[in-house]
Each structure stands twice: as structure tokens, then as C-alpha cells.
């Protein structure tokens, strides 16, 4: 039993870290642009599928993981340019509906390009197989994912807190009008944020592919989870999103032990409780 619990907790943390990457991107876009990015899930899916195709060409997982997310960034910037930007003056409902429409289109695009049947990617050579952790035997690749996501999250945090550009993004979350008043080209900040969010989603998709596999619906499956993370985290909060992502992953995998059918339901119950007890979220100010 202890063996099971420990490995499920680690599983939860690994999944949770991937959720966190998706959630951080979503919360940044939400905080700065004030839109729930309905296309965020499908960007995650593209991260996985582009990695699959790049991998077939370059043959090296790490190289593919380095390249693929930039394809997703291009896609994200394209969306920002042709749609979101045109709709800034409209009510934000229309921005998210545009992104929802795009999500439908992109989801079908995945099926057109890569086919309707799911597939999988092998972990990189050297990280296949498991390692003995004493309490449990655990797949090497998943441990590596934990380390990599931690590094990316830390890097994102450093970018936001230690660089001038990052400071502007944070200022955009706190007070958008102020950023405009300071004479900063808010358009560029929006594009940058959208690009960064897309990159995080793309990396998450790539990293997740050897664990979760690839299915055309993977984007639509992760989107509601990412929303839960943002709600639980609090508007625009990066640390909140990380914590909420891990909590979500762990809650899900622990429920699997006792009541597997409820594993997908439990996170929404947690979210509902959160709203009742602390409506502004873990780290939210408003």
C-alpha cells in the first residue's frame, strides 16, 4: 500500500508539474490580456504532435523538444495577430469565442495531419526503464520531467522577476492602464505574453507525450484542468498556478487509488470548494 501511495504521489507531482506549465501560460495570458485562452489546450496538443514530427526528422528527443515548442509559439503569435489583436476593442467575450473557434479548427487540423488514432512517443534513450528509489521503483523519464519542468518554471519566474521585460509583463497583470501610460507598447507586451504562454504549453505538450501519449483530443482534455488551476491559483498568479497544478495532479492520482471513477471529478469539486471558501484563489488579490 505504501509503495502504491508513494508512487502515486510522485505520479501526481509529475502530472501536476506538466499541468503547472500549462496553467502558468494560461494564467499569464489571462492576467495580461484578460482572456481565458480557449485555444490553450490545443496549443498543448500541437506541442506534442509537432514534437512527434520533428522527432521523425531529427531522430533526437531532446533536439525535438528544443525545436517543437517554437512551432507552437509561431502558431500562438499568428492567432494573436490575426484574431485576438483585431478584437481588443470588442468585448472580451468575442476574443475568447474567437479562440474557441480556433481551437475547433486546430483540433480538426490535428486529425487531418496526424490522423484520428492516438499514438505514442518513446522516452529518450538513456531514460527508458526505471530506477529504484528505495520505497518504490520509478520510471526514469518521469523523474527527469520533474527536474526539467522545475527548471522551466524557475526560469520563467526569474524572467518575470529579474528582467525588465518580465517586470513589464507583471505590471501588465497588476495594472494594464498604467503600462499604457508609461508609454510602453502594450501591443508588444500582449504578443510577448501570448508567445510565452504558447511556448510553455508547447513544451508541456512535448514533455507529456512519452507519459500521456498523443491523442487528437488531448488538448480539449487538458483545457478544463488548466482552467481549474487558474481559478484555484488566483488571477495571474504564477506561484499559485504551480502550486495549484501540483495539487491538482496529486489529488487526481491519489483519488485513483481509492475511487478511480472519481479521479476526473475530484479536481472540480476541489475548485468548487475553493471558490466558496476563498473566491480570489490561493494567491489572488481580487
Amino acid at each position: 500500500m505504501l509503495f502504491l501511495v508513494v508512487s502515486q504521489i510522485i505520479n501526481g507531482v509529475v502530472t501536476g508539474m506538466i499541468y503547472a506549465l500549462v496553467g502558468v501560460g494560461l494564467t499569464l495570458i489571462l492576467g495580461v490580456l484578460n482572456i481565458p485562452n480557449f485555444a490553450h489546450g490545443v496549443l498543448f496538443a500541437f506541442g506534442a504532435y509537432i514534437l512527434l514530427s520533428v522527432l521523425q526528422v531529427v531522430g533526437n528527443f531532446w533536439l525535438a523538444l528544443l525545436i517543437a515548442p517554437f512551432g507552437v509559439v509561431l502558431l500562438g503569435l499568428l492567432l494573436e495577430l490575426v484574431g485576438v489583436r483585431r478584437l481588443y476593442t470588442a468585448h472580451h467575450d468575442y476574443q475568447l469565442l474567437f479562440l474557441f473557434a480556433v481551437a475547433l479548427i486546430l483540433q480538426e487540423t490535428i486529425i487531418l495531419i496526424w490522423g484520428p488514432i492516438g499514438t505514442s512517443v518513446l522516452p529518450p534513450a538513456g531514460l527508458q526503464g526505471a530506477v529504484n528509489l528505495g520505497l518504490t521503483v520509478y520510471p526514469k523519464y518521469r523523474l527527469a520531467v520533474m527536474g526539467i519542468t522545475a527548471a522551466i518554471v524557475a526560469g520563467t519566474w526569474l524572467f518575470l522577476t529579474r528582467t525588465n521585460v518580465g517586470a513589464i509583463v507583471r505590471a501588465g497583470i497588476e495594472n494594464r492602464e498604467m503600462v499604457a501610460v508609461l508609454g510602453i507598447d502594450i501591443q508588444k507586451v500582449f504578443a510577448l505574453t501570448f508567445g510565452l504562454g504558447a511556448w510553455l504549453a508547447g513544451v508541456a505538450g512535448g514533455l507529456a507525450s512519452p507519459i500521456m501519449g498523443l491523442t487528437p483530443s488531448m488538448g480539449f482534455d487538458i483545457l478544463p484542468i488548466a482552467f481549474v488551476i487558474v481559478v484555484v491559483a488566483g488571477l495571474g498568479s504564477v506561484p499559485g498556478a504551480i502550486l495549484a497544478g501540483i495539487l491538482t495532479g496529486v489529488a487526481q492520482s491519489l483519488t485513483t487509488i481509492v475511487f478511480p471513477e472519481a479521479a476526473n471529478v475530484v479536481i472540480y469539486l476541489l475548485m468548487g470548494l475553493m471558490i466558496l471558501v476563498r473566491p480570489q484563489g490561493l494567491f489572488g488579490k481580487r
Partner: protein, 310 residues
């Protein structure tokens, strides 16, 4: 009194409907017209975008299906029970969701939708899970598709009139005030959250009722009925018809069902066309078909369209 003319026009269209379309398709259009009209109560009139209407549609459908299969209750009782259940659920979900405004409201309705989807998906012994809930039989008197169409058409008219009354009532006016200016509506003494919950609940009641009819139409509750993509479809229908006009969503529902029935037969990837149409509407025609009519009308009468989408 233009509303009266539109109403007469609708009655006319209902009379010829089954001769233009297959009965089941015409029936499905009417069911979704109710859903879209109900969605417009919150979206167009109260200014709340819900991405979780399928929750109530699905719950209404499952409730009606289960009561028909297991309890064998008479149809009016089944419809009433399904509506009450969807309404009660809306009070609970709504009470949580109206705590937060705008973007949060959207994400919360969406997330709760997903939760109920998973419940339906996982609770296979009750709902049939992924395979859907088959065997929902209509009473013998309604077994014929045309007869069922007539019943649904009458119920549609009843729903239409009832919703029109809601919109024209004091509640409807306060809803519109909240949509226009929430802070002001609160400052003159209206409890905005309560009115939002009221609007949300009324909308869900009609949506649940329509879901119940849907389960009887095809004799099965597919799992798709409660998926959040269905909620997206509902928003799509409402907007493409035109959320700025009471009758607009009816056009949207008709267009959507027609599109899905004709295109989905030809091409499996038809949601892509849906996405393209939706994106174009959002970018270029935010008032939906109603705005197109207004613009056309404006050209004819050379007055210029004064279309205002909420």
C-alpha cells in the same frame, strides 16, 4: 407590434417545417431553438457568457431517459421531473459561479460542465458511459415522428411565449440593466448576484426541459449531449443567429442543425467548418444573422442599420 408579426411568421414556418425538412431534423431544430433562446436570456439579456449550458441539457436528457426507462412514468411527469432537476442543479452551480464575475464565470461554468461530463462518463451503470443511454421509448401515441414534431412544436411555442414574458417582465428589464451597467444596477438597490442567479436558473430550466425532449426524440442520450463542446455549440447558435434580438437565436439553431446534418454526412471533419464560420462571425458579424437582416433592411430603407449587439 412587430413582435406579433414575427410570431405569426414563426407559426407559419412551424406549419410547413416538416414538409421542408425530415420530421426528426425539424424537431431537433425546435429543441435547440429553445436551448439557444434560453441561453440568450443569460448571454444577450443579462450579459453572462456561460460555457456550461450542456450541463443542464445533459442532465435534463439523462433524467428524462432514466425516468422513462426505469420508472415508466407518464410523459408530463418525466418532462416536469427533468426540468425540476436541471433547475435545482442550476441553483447550486449558479450560486457558486455568480460569486465571480466575467472571465471567472465563464471558466467556472465550463469547469463544472466538465465535471458533470465525467460523472456521466464514469457512472456507466447508470448512464451507459461512452456508449450513451439507449432505450428511451416515447409513449405509443407519440411514436410517430410527425406526431412528436407537432407536440414539440406546441411546446416550443409555449416556451417561446413564456420566455418572451420573462424578457418583458420587470425581471427582464433588470437583467438588461445589469448587462448594461452592473455597478449602477447594484447602486439603485438591485442585488445583482440574485438576479444573475435567477436568470441563470430560468435559462437552465428551459435548457433541461429541451434536453428531456431531446432524449425522447432519438431514443438515446449520447454522451456528447453533456460534453462542453455542446455548450460551445449552444453559444455558437445563439451568436450566429444574433444575441441582440429576442428571436435571433432561433435562426442560429436552425442554421446550426442544418449545417451539422448536411455537412457531417459528407465530411467527418465538419467541426472545422463550424470553427471557420464561427471565427468569421466573431470577427466580422458580431450581431449574427439578425444584424445581416438589419443591414439589408437599412440598405432598402436607406436609413442605415442601428444594430446594437449587447
Amino acid at each position: 407590434m412587430r413582435d406579433r408579426w414575427i410570431f405569426l411568421l414563426i407559426v407559419g414556418v412551424l406549419a410547413v417545417g416538416p414538409f421542408v425538412q425530415r420530421e426528426v431534423i425539424a424537431t431537433e431544430i425546435l429543441i435547440f431553438a429553445v436551448v439557444a433562446l434560453a441561453n440568450n436570456l443569460i448571454l444577450g439579456y443579462t450579459g453572462m457568457l456561460s460555457f456550461g449550458q450542456a450541463t443542464f441539457f445533459g442532465v435534463g436528457a439523462y433524467a428524462a431517459g432514466l425516468l422513462t426507462i426505469h420508472a415508466g412514468l407518464p410523459l408530463p411527469v418525466v418532462l416536469a421531473a427533468a426540468t425540476v432537476l436541471a433547475t435545482g442543479l442550476a441553483v447550486l452551480i449558479g450560486a457558486v459561479c455568480v460569486q465571480r464575475i466575467g472571465l471567472y464565470f465563464i471558466m467556472l461554468t465550463f469547469a463544472f460542465n466538465q465535471m458533470f461530463y465525467f460523472i456521466a462518463y464514469s457512472w456507466t451503470t447508470l448512464t451507459g458511459g461512452e456508449d450513451g443511454l439507449p432505450g428511451v421509448r416515447r409513449p405509443a401515441a407519440l411514436a410517430d415522428d410527425l406526431t412528436f414534431y407537432v407536440l414539440v412544436a406546441l411546446l416550443f411555442l409555449a416556451c417561446l411565449l413564456l420566455m418572451k414574458r420573462v424578457v418583458d417582465s420587470p425581471w427582464g428589464r433588470v437583467f438588461r440593466a445589469i448587462r448594461d451597467n452592473e455597478a449602477r444596477a447594484a447602486a439603485v438597490g438591485h442585488d445583482v448576484r440574485r438576479y444573475k442567479l435567477l436568470s441563470f436558473t430560468i435559462s437552465a430550466a428551459f435548457t433541461g426541459f429541451a434536453g428531456a425532449l431531446y432524449s425522447l426524440l432519438y431514443g438515446i442520450v449520447p454522451i456528447d449531449a453533456i460534453h462542453w463542446l455542446r455548450s460551445g455549440d449552444i453559444v455558437f447558435m445563439t451568436l450566429i443567429g444574433g444575441s441582440g434580438h429576442f428571436f435571433g437565436p432561433i435562426i442560429g439553431a436552425a442554421f446550426f442543425i442544418w449545417l451539422s446534418e448536411t455537412v457531417s454526412v459528407v465530411w467527418d471533419r465538419w467541426p472545422m467548418i463550424l470553427g471557420v464560420v464561427f471565427a468569421l462571425v466573431v470577427l466580422f458579424l458580431r450581431g449574427g444573422v439578425v444584424e445581416l437582416i438589419r443591414r439589408g433592411h437599412g440598405l432598402v430603407t436607406a436609413r442605415g442599420g442601428a444594430a446594437t449587439a449587447p
